[in-house]
Point group: C2
Chain length 221, copies 2
Amino acid sequence: MDILMTTEEYLPLRDVVFKTLRQAILKGELKPGERLMEITLAKKLGVSRTPIREAIRKLELEGLVTMIPRRGAAVAGITEKSLRDVLEVRKTLEDLAVELACKRMNEEQIKALEEAEKAFCAAVEKGEPIEIAGADELFHDIIFAGTGNDKLVLLLNNLREQMYRYRLEYVKNPKQWKLLLEEHDMILEAVKNKDISAAKSVIRMHIDNQEIAVAKSIKLN
Amino acid sequence: MDILMTTEEYLPLRDVVFKTLRQAILKGELKPGERLMEITLAKKLGVSRTPIREAIRKLELEGLVTMIPRRGAAVAGITEKSLRDVLEVRKTLEDLAVELACKRMNEEQIKALEEAEKAFCAAVEKGEPIEIAGADELFHDIIFAGTGNDKLVLLLNNLREQMYRYRLEYVKNPKQWKLLLEEHDMILEAVKNKDISAAKSVIRMHIDNQEIAVAKSIKLN
DNA sequence: TATAATATCCTTGTATACAAAATACGAAGA
DNA sequence: TCTTCGTATTTTGTATACAAGGATATTATA
């Protein structure tokens, strides 16, 4: 399976490999404990060992793989504990994000948020899980951007990705859709009214719901 | 300047290089904006380009260097805005950390914290800035560990690192020592009494003080 | 059959080679 | 003098080569 270059913009192979491996780990295609052997991966991705190794260095620092001396890398185990840890941090940072968004979003950004809400609504009516997930992501992206804090945006995106596997499961369930829609509405209202405490309580609920869903989904394994 | 192997235990060259470069950046020997040229560094450290590149990949993910496409790595410049962003996030996460520490630290960990406090006190009496910085770090490490949240520990360490350069300046100033000592005392007390709100207010003050000092230190450049 | 010694293979860690892009420099022309 | 084009140099990005340690298999021996 060679790597396909979709965009014409330049990305070093190491970054392509990094993203590919990262996705593979987060989606569960590479299972915890599985060894990442350089030559094997290199052949599979149609590149040399060099970009593979450099990608692994980044995964190492991110904690997605663990290094065994002279034996190379292995996929780090994702336990229920580690997921709870991520959610605990994420709850706090999402909390901060809506607070800052309430304080700092300008008219234009709020307009964009309304648009995103409409798009989400439309996606829900169509009932396409992937489209819904995308619209949901966009909605949150606008809030993130509205914080005006680049570091925060970076971290939240990262944390969100770590949950990717479970989030997709969660969004697939039609029962959740109406709930999600309501939550989005409430968030939108809160941001428009700059009502920080309302926004926070909604976002907490939002994450708590996800936590419950994730916990369930894990126990099924 | 060849790399000296002090311990006989095995460490890949890339990790030695990583630590070396990181120290150099954090201590300010490599200045913001300065390019990291692979061949130059390789010659200086007496290794080949490979370990250098792998070390740079880690520094990249850590945010200590930024990559310019096809031009390689440069020491990341810290703007006042980016520092404020980091501090804003850090304040929130430190807040979470002390809360969790209050809730979850066991007797043994609290003992360790008391020891660290004593060590810090001793360092202050000696008046060695580097030693003080180290003792301060240890104190906070114990609190971090006390949260029982590995992801949080990872993030806080990273955020702390990004400030290291300026933090050292801060710790060098003898006027701050007594203040730091008092803050540590208060944090220790709060954790012992599991008094979350007290702990939080101290930690906020702690970060705010740093923010002020750092802002000053940046304006001097 | 079980065990120990040895040889072979595999994988990583490091160094080097090669290609392509970016930059710097200089000469030619207006 | 300034601009522009082209060449040379530098530096990155990627691939490959080589060495050493660890794992595995095989064979000899009890």
